[in-house]
């Protein structure tokens, strides 16, 4: 439309300039034609010199807040870019529907990212991973008559949306009752080092006792490592996250599942429990064990779970799973079923999972 209007205006000016014999106006019309032609070329030049990206950043939010994506544009040209438009595609990982946003901006010549950054907000009503991808960059000329676009590849970003923490009423069985297997030794525990009481060796963190520093190992590796001792009264649970499903799960289904898993793990961890969580990881090609002893690290595990491509078919899951071990463990399924030692604890309803998690009383004894 703008092109048509421009052409019409130029024609009109050309006609009147000619009919009224206005040489300077005619020169202006010719100037306009040259300008339009230059504009066409300019879009091609500017397009090559402009790049856009979503810088990598740690981005974790809780459900029902807004996800933020910082989009930056870099103009390497010596000319300013009067207008560019970026197409940003955002969707929940595994979801079917995507939200497309058009971002426009302008850029100074030789500008860095800070000058041309924009924050894009995306409402996060569900837990999961939100993937954002810059798909197309369109550059306009100064008069915004012409535009030129190119596809962007690999310009992606992601935000982990954690379920909202919820307080549950869970009655646990007495300590020591349900230890199925000995605690796995850390890979750092070498045989013959007489560290039978050491549960694992990890990197030093602020607040750790200095006497727990593993001096020999630290001297070898030039890093500080600390010894973590096994508690005598640890209550160890084996938890299997059965993420198998017969049909692809919707974003809502996943959200309900994550809500349930997150709430149960959080509440169990508050009771000073060590959780040995078994979940399916497609990348690793089987069931992965994650031991969770620090309640503060629960969110980290949830993020791991969200990012892991953990959903699989029933058969796939059964093939890689130790059926005998499952019988005595806590199982959480995508059908929102919670069972413990082969006994069903509760089956949540998808729509009311949040309410049920908070309002119901769960007895595991």
């Amino acid at each position: 439309m703008k092109k048509l209007v421009t052409v019409l205006l130029l024609l009109l000016a050309w006609y009147f300039a000619g009919m009224n014999r206005q040489p300077y106006v005619m020169a202006a019309v010719l100037c306009g034609i040259i300008f339009v032609a230059l504009s066409f070329v300019l879009t091609r030049i500017l397009r090559r010199r402009l790049t856009a990206d979503i810088p990598k950043q740690k981005n974790i939010i809780y459900k029902n807040t807004q996800a933020e994506f910082i989009v930056t544009a870099t103009n390497k040209s010596r000319l300013p870019v009067n207008k560019y438009k970026l197409t940003l595609k955002m969707k929940y990982r595994g979801g079917n529907t995507a939200t497309v946003k058009k971002l426009s901006g302008n850029a100074c010549p030789k500008s860095d990212n800070d000058d041309n950054s924009a924050v894009v907000y995306f409402a996060a009503p569900y837990s999961g991973i939100i993937d954002a991808e810059l798909t197309r960059l369109r550059v306009y000329d100064y008069f915004m008559i012409f535009s030129s676009s190119r596809k962007l590849r690999g310009k992606t970003g992601e935000v982990a949306v954690l379920p909202t923490p919820r307080k549950m009423n869970i009655k646990l069985p007495p300590f020591g009752t349900y230890t199925n297997e000995p605690v796995a030794e850390s890979s750092f525990d070498k045989p013959g080092e007489d560290h039978s009481e050491i549960r694992l060796i990890r990197e030093y963190r602020e607040g750790d006792l200095t006497r727990h520093i593993h001096r020999n190992y630290s001297a070898k590796t030039e890093k500080l490592w600390v010894k973590e001792y096994q508690r005598e009264n640890d209550f160890i649970f084996d938890m299997y996250i059965d993420s198998s499903c017969d049909h692809p799960l919707s974003t809502e289904d996943r959200d309900a599942f994550y809500e349930m898993v997150s709430a149960i793990i959080h509440n169990l961890m508050e009771n000073d429990i060590i959780l040995r969580i078994h979940y399916y990881n497609r990348e690793k090609g089987g069931i992965v064990l994650h031991e969770l002893s620090d309640p503060e690290k629960t969110d980290e595990f949830i993020i791991l779970l969200l990012k892991a491509d953990s959903f699989c078919s029933k058969e796939e899951f059964l093939n890689v799973c130790n059926i005998a071990a499952i019988q005595n463990a806590m199982i959480l399924t995508t059908q929102l079923e919670w069972s413990f030692c082969g006994r069903p604890v509760y089956k949540f309803e998808k729509k009311n999972v949040c309410l049920e998690l908070v309002n119901r009383y769960f007895d595991l004894t």
Binding site: L9, L12, A13, W14, Y15, F16, A17, G18, M19, N20, R21, Q22, P23, Y24, V25, M26, A27, A28, L30, C31, G32, I33, I34, F35, L38, Q66, R78, L79, P80, V81, N82, K83, T99, K101, K102, L103, S104, G105, N106, A107, C108, P109, S111, D114, D115, N116, S117, A118, V119, V120, Y121, F122, A123, Y142, F143, M144
Partner: protein, 940 residues
């Protein structure tokens, strides 16, 4: 209340949902809007605004002609200062902004009141000059109002589209009221238009962004880049326009022509404007549509003027047909009491006049029958047939002596062509058509029977009859007059006799025998009428009615008449004419009784009637009154007119439209200085009149012998073999001037210069030699073409005005050429330097290294011969290690103290080090020094 609270709640919820979906909360949106509402404080905005405002002010000032006036400059300065104050108070959201606006309004009112009072009194006094002065007094108020309006639209409302259209309207439609923007205002307005558009569109789409960081700076930079690109683009555009100016404008007019043709064909309008006398207020459009096929027996020696329309009086828009003036003259001549009283006019001649023929058509058959009967009685002839011979155009009768005589059949033809059986004719009474129109002008009541017969006898007995024919001959505005009766011819001989004798006009009437006779003159021996030519016109399209005829037609020519093969101008017709240069005009009238008397009477009448100027042309009148000429010497007047036309205007088919409030001729001569034949002829005719010389404005076709094509198979018409043919289209349409010369009648004067500005006027007694003498006498310098085609007098340029636009164009062209040449020189030098450095020895490369360091401001106190140079070089360019620096110095020293060159590996080493240093130093340079470093100095 449109919505109930519940509905509003739902709507609000929906809005929230939508907002949520879009990703922005209401609060964030409001914040974004708030940011967008903040006035843009970029100084580029106000610079652009003032640029556009000044452009418009200068355009208005130019149109009024006060650009250089100190008052105008003061007004401009004041308006700019006020704009700054407005802008400053606006961008700072100053509480005084309202006060500033109110103060501005107050100023406008103060400026408006006295101007308005003057305007009302000027309108009531109806004095154009006073009105103009009052409008000038109103200018400051109008300009201030415009400033405020533009500011409000641009800054407060941010509606650049309105200002865009307003500016465009002013520039494009301004010429309609005589406001043509010059180079400076056009450039300023264009930059403002585009620049502000870029800024404004940028501001408008900020709403879709979430952050505005850097936007303003990028917008301003974009606007500046746009302005620079426009300025650069304007140079080639302006030069292209100036070089191909006429071609470009012709293209526009051609396009307009196609549109007009399309509209006309839709409306069924096929009329041509060649014979309506209107003076074009626009461009000359030539569609090239063929109008006539013109056949000739021989090629014309000179330019052949085919006349179609003659105008006597200019009414400001068009020329009034000269027939009316001519008829007034002859009517006056035929008045016994007030007029000359000794002239009679023959009715049958008049029936060809357009307005008379309209009357004739209303004549009933009875009248003609009665008339012819009376004529037959009078002459004693018996009408034997109404059928006329198409070849000759005559009917044949027997006189009382039994001789066969030919009667002009046009009368009979008229009777035959008119549908007298219609109800209209049957309802006619004798009183409807005064017989005077047919027979005698000074007859106030219809004549019947004996009375009519007596009148005819009286007329026929008038010895001036041949003089009347002569008058028609002189008056070329009229079509050839045909004598009523030709005696002494037999039926079979009629045609040949007509050809040979009718040009002489020497019919005599024998009162005793009451017969007309032709003087016994041998046509072959008559020197007067040698060298006649024949033309045949065949209209192309019956829808286009065009009739034209050459000068000096053979009056009474039997070769054919306008209605020889039909009764309308759309039918083919043929005319015999004489070449002016081949006929002896002085001998021509020696046999004509009372010729001198008639010429004197006629001259005095045309002096009185043709010099009546009813329109006001103050500037042209002033020019003529300031140049005193001997008006008895018509050649001097002609020379001055040609001089004025050439020095004031140039020929252009696309002079543009004349403003509504301007007189076409004055605008052409004094403002636009461009025009085509219509304007040149109109101006010349008016100037002749102002010097008291009767002149006519004439339109028709102008053809040259080269326009004809020889026919492979000649066409024969009326026993004349026509060997040449050409197609006349509106491309041959032309306008010229006629002046009255004794013995020659009305002769054409070519006043339009050729495309290269050379005058070619000549008429009996006036040619380039005469013109040259007069020019020398008066010191007029202009270009005239000699008889042999050479130019005999060149303009020395002393009368030419200094054209600032041409000067600017010249400067721009020179700048562009110099720039282009500089670029070429730089690149050639760069190429040579690079090529040379690839083959140069170590000393040359080292020399360039030193120069490069000096250019970069490094080691300026060293020339490479110092002992610590290697250390200094490493310090200046750390990328060159001390070992390499030492080796470079060592290689150089070796080469300097040896006869030959260094080994190739050493040369390669020094060259590589040089390239490495050049690369590093280049990267250190600022952006504006990099092109100099690379291309001009050729270091890299």
């Amino acid at each position: 209340m449109l919505f109930t609270p519940e509905v509003r709640k739902i709507k609000r919820k929906k809005i929230n949902i939508r907002t949520e979906k879009f990703g922005l909360t209401r609060k964030q949106k409001n914040e974004a809007d708030k940011i967008n509402r903040i006035p843009d404080s970029s100084p580029v905005l106000i610079i652009m605004y003032i640029c556009g405002l000044l452009g418009i002010l200068i355009a208005i000032g130019e149109s009024v002609g006060i650009t250089t006036s100190p008052v105008f400059i003061l007004i401009c300065a004041g308006i700019i200062a006020l704009s700054f104050v407005l802008w400053y108070s606006f961008i700072h959201q100053n509480k005084y902004f309202k006060h500033v606006v109110l103060g501005f309004c107050g100023l406008i009112v103060i400026l408006l009141i006295p101007g308005w009072t003057g305007l009302t009194s000027a309108i009531s006094s109806a004095q154009p000059g006073e009105l103009y002065n009052t409008l000038q007094n109103l200018l400051p108020a109008v300009l201030s109002l415009l400033t405020l309006l533009f500011f409000y639209l641009e800054f407060v409302l941010r509606r650049h589209s309105i200002v865009f259209l307003l500016c465009m309207g002013i520039v494009i439609l301004g010429p309609a009221i005589g406001m043509k923007a010059g180079l400076v205002p056009v450039v300023m307005i264009v930059i403002f238009q585009f620049g502000f558009y870029v800024l404004n569109t940028n501001i408008s789409f900020r709403r879709s962004r979430l952050n505005t960081k850097g936007n303003s700076k990028a917008s301003s930079l974009s606007t500046i880049v746009t302005a620079v690109i426009l300025l650069i683009a304007f140079i080639p555009a302006f030069i292209t326009e100036h070089i191909f100016e006429d071609d470009i404008f012709v293209q526009v007019y051609q396009a307009d022509g196609y549109i007009q043709d399309g509209i006309n064909s839709l409306l069924g309008d096929f009329s041509t404007n060649i014979s309506d006398g209107s003076v074009s207020r626009g461009n000359l459009r030539q569609s090239g549509t063929p109008v006539l096929d013109l056949y000739a027996d021989d090629l014309p020696e000179n330019r052949l003027y085919l006349k179609s329309f003659a105008g006597a009086i200019y009414d400001g828009r068009s020329w009034i047909n000269a027939y009316e003036t001519e008829n007034e003259i002859f009517e006056y001549f035929s008045e016994n009491e007030n007029g000359k009283g000794s002239y009679r006019r023959m009715g049958m001649v008049f029936y060809r006049e357009p307005f008379i023929s309209g009357m004739i058509n209303r004549v009933s058959y009875d009248y003609y029958k009665r008339y012819l009967s009376a004529l037959s009685d009078l002459l004693g002839i018996e009408l034997i047939s109404y059928d006329y011979d198409y070849k000759s155009g005559f009917s044949y009768c027997l006189d009382k002596n039994g001789r066969e005589v030919a009667i002009n059949s046009d009368v009979v033809n008229d009777i035959r062509q008119t549908d007298y059986t219609s109800s209209q004719s049957s309802s006619l009474t004798d009183n409807d058509v005064p017989i005077a129109y047919i027979f005698k002008e000074d007859c106030t009541s219809p004549l019947y029977g004996d009375e009519l017969q007596n009148e005819i006898i009286t007329y026929m007995a008038d010895p001036d009859k041949s003089l009347i024919e002569s008058v028609y001959y002189i008056d070329n505005s009229k079509l050839p007059a045909y004598p009523t009766i030709l005696s002494n011819t037999s039926h079979s001989e009629a045609v040949s006799d007509i050809y040979s004798t009718f040009g002489r006009q020497n019919l005599v009437y024998d009162p005793e025998n009451r017969i007309f006779d032709v003087q016994n003159v041998d046509p072959a021996s008559s020197a007067d009428f040698k060298g006649s030519n024949h033309l045949r016109f065949e209209p192309k399209d019956n829808n286009i009615s065009v009739s034209c005829y050459p000068y000096y037609p053979a009056a009474g020519s039997g070769f054919g008449s306008l209605t020889a093969e039909g009764n309308s101008a759309s039918q083919p017709y043929s005319i015999e004419y004489y070449n002016q240069s081949k006929i002896s005009m002085s001998d021509r009238w020696k046999n004509v009784p009372d010729y001198e008397k008639f010429i004197n009477d006629y001259s005095s009448e045309i002096n009185e009637r043709y010099n009546n100027i009813i329109t006001s042309h103050p500037r042209l009148e002033k020019l003529c009154s300031e140049t005193a000429l001997n008006t008895d010497n018509i050649n001097e007047v002609t020379t001055f007119i040609l001089y004025t036309l050439q020095t004031h205007a140039k020929y252009s088919k696309t002079p543009g439209s004349v403003p509504f409030n301007s007189d076409t001729i004055e605008y052409f001569l004094f403002d636009n200085h461009q025009g085509f034949c219509v304007h040149f002829a109109s101006a010349a005719a008016l100037m002749y009149k102002m010097y008291g010389i009767p002149a006519r404005y004439v339109t028709g076709y102008s053809v040259h012998s080269t326009d004809f094509d020889e026919l492979d198979s000649p066409v024969t018409s009326h026993d004349v073999q026509l060997n040449y043919k050409m197609e006349i289209s509106d491309k041959y349409a032309h306008a010229w001037v006629e002046i009255f010369l004794k013995d020659y009648g009305w002769v054409p004067v070519e006043v339009t210069p050729t495309m290269d500005g050379i005058m070619n006027a000549k008429y009996p007694g006036f040619d380039s030699a005469v013109m040259s003498n007069i020019m020398n006498e008066h010191g007029w310098k202009f270009v005239v073409r000699n008889k042999d085609g050479t130019i005999i007098s060149g303009s020395d340029g002393t009368d030419q005005e200094f054209d600032i636009n041409t000067f600017i164009l010249l400067v721009l062209s020179v700048m562009l050429i110099l720039f282009a040449l500089s670029l070429i020189a730089v690149f050639v030098r760069y190429y040579l330097l690079i090529t040379h450095s690839r083959k140069a020895d170590c000393r040359v490369i080292f020399d360039r290294l030193i120069r490069m360091l000096h250019f970069c401001g490094l080691l300026t106190d060293k020339n490479g011969s110092e002992k610590d140079f290697a250390v200094s070089l490493t310090a200046a360019v750390p990328e060159i290690s001390i070992e390499n620096a030492v080796r470079i110095v060592s290689i150089l020293e070796t080469e300097s103290f040896s006869d030959g060159h260094s080994p190739p590996e050493d040369q390669l080493f020094v060259r590589e080090q040089y390239y490495a240093a050049a690369e590093i130093l280049y990267s250190r340079q600022k952006w504006f020094r990099k092109p100099v470093f690379r291309f001009i100095m050729g270091f890299r």
